[in-house]
């Protein structure tokens, strides 16, 4: 497939936003059971504002994936109507839901609207806990919807695997917790070790999951062949004409147009940028070194852009069988 930058930025940016929100809410839920020190409301406000900013950035990138940006106003509302069958439609519902709950979480913390809705005096702030919990559930729904957009296309065999969904969740979680570690270095230094260690754990889990999908994809046996594509059983078939002279949508959309060496180098670039370098920097920043943690996030995010590019480019669409000489 031809990697589209709007989708690369959309999926990586909302991944960071979702992961960061999970990290912020994890702190609040841990602090209610006294596993972590409770923070000032400004910690949650700024944290969820930062997460929301990444979501808005992703939404902005998504607008450029539409045929015309104006469709965002005139037609995109129809995108919520097909939720029964389309994972893209489900994503279009989950995305504003997540953003709305993040916004509510931020606003309720900002104004300190913490009603004790369950009537218990032991823990304060149940309302924000409930909103945060609903937000976290919505975050997971959004992760699954985004991953399933790709995993549900059964003949794109590189994507048609549950590992695709796990990768989206783990990469979002890893980059979000890395950003949370960097954020806490400025806002709440006592949380750095907590966030950095979780960021390392999720990054390692993402490494395992992505390595498994790379391993799987390297051994794919394609179901379709040129023989099944045109219905001729002969083993020697050569395409002599593609039916056009200068290329078409089919030759532009489904081919990345890069060499195998280029593809392979992108793979190694993302493997280095997403995993070992951030892990090293997180470890260095564990004692509260903000520079190392900011750098860890920046490098990991850059690596995720390469990872997402590779994810798209590696997928081999069966329609390419009809374009043997591109």
């Amino acid at each position: 497939m031809h990697p589209t930058f709007s989708v690369i930025f959309l999926t990586t940016l909302i991944g960071v936003g979702q992961g960061l929100f999970l990290a912020i809410f994890t702190e609040q839920s841990y602090s209610t059971v006294n596993l972590l020190p409770a923070q000032e409301s400004s910690f949650y406000v700024t944290g969820s504002l930062l997460a929301l900013a990444f979501m808005v950035g992703g939404l902005f990138a998504a607008v450029f994936h539409l045929g015309k940006p104006s469709y965002f106003i005139t037609r995109a509302w129809r995108g919520v109507t097909q939720w029964r069958t389309s994972w893209l439609s489900r994503e279009l519902i989950a995305l504003p839901l997540v953003m709305g709950l993040m916004f509510l979480y931020m606003v309720f913390h900002y104004f300190g609207w913490d009603a004790d809705i369950f009537g218990s005096a032991e823990t304060k702030g149940q309302l924000t806990l409930v909103i945060g919990g609903l937000g976290s559930a919505a975050v997971f729904i959004l992760f699954v919807a985004t991953g399933m957009i790709y995993a549900s296309l059964k003949f794109l065999q590189e994507w048609n695997c549950s590992l695709t969904v796990f990768n989206y969740i783990l990469f979002g979680g890893a980059s979000g917790f890395t950003l949370a570690a960097a954020y806490s270095a400025f806002a709440a230094p006592e949380l750095v070790a907590f966030y950095a260690s979780w960021a390392m754990i999720i990054t390692l889990a993402a490494l395992v999951s992505r390595a498994m999908s790379l391993f799987r994809n390297a051994r794919i046996k394609y179901k379709s062949t040129l023989q099944t594509a045109i219905g001729v059983r002969h083993t020697q078939i050569q395409q002599k004409a593609m039916g056009m002279m200068g290329g078409s949508y089919n030759t532009r959309e489904y081919f990345h147009g890069k060499t195998a060496i280029f593809l392979k180098s992108i793979k190694w670039i993302f493997l280095v940028l997403v995993f070992p370098l951030p892990l090293l920097l997180l470890w260095l920043g564990m004692d509260g070194n903000p520079q190392a943690l900011v750098l860890a996030f920046a490098i990991q995010y850059l690596g995720l852009l390469f990872e997402r590019w590779f994810f798209f480019a590696q997928a081999n669409h069966p329609q390419n069988l009809y374009y043997q000489t591109v």
Binding site: K223, V232, K240
Partner: protein
Amino acid sequence: MSQLALVIDLNVCVGCHACVTSCKQWNTSGDAGPMFDDNPYDKDPTGTFFNRVQTYEIGQFPRTETLHFPKSCLHCEDAPCVPVCPTGASFKREDDGIVLVDYDKCIGCKYCSWACPYGAREFDKHQKVMKKCTLCVDRIYDESLPESMRKPACVLACPTSARLFGDVHDPDSEVSVTIREQGGYQLMPEWGTKPSNHYLPRRKTKMHIHEDELVRADNPLKKEDIRHEISDDVTLDDWMM
């Protein structure tokens, strides 16, 4: 419930592209407006087409065969492009099984084209919507046309009658009979999309020629005999030589 479809006879397709040009002509002049065509007479011509003819060479020289292979939307019975559409712009008609795009609802996200294993959909980069073969839905129901003309443009244009059009759910229709009798098959059956369009395979044609067919017995000049031994009988031919 009927399912309209095309049956394409690969045995007689000569790859003339008449179906491609007539399709472009008919559909670019229709209600939906023109299908873009950049640099048509220049370097790198490109545009939206609903139908393409590709050419393959099968076998190893000198035993090769040329296969001309027209491909358009196959109007799958279980069309994978329809459920993935987030806006409902892509749909399959209940009554005749034609898969269409509502250009006024399409947001151009291209997801349906990713979901089609055949590459049958093309994005119109000027109108910014997804387009595909409509089976000339505006023409096959047009009662102002004489009944013999209510067929897709490609079918009418084909000089060798390689394209048949009809209801593949009606067991007595011309297309169903042809599919049954000539071994009509579907493309990429492994994905379970159940394409409605069928292809008829190339057939091996054998011909036995007997020696007496090579010699024209009633040829007064007996040209074929010249290089053989000359007959003792004096004939008119001998005299002429």
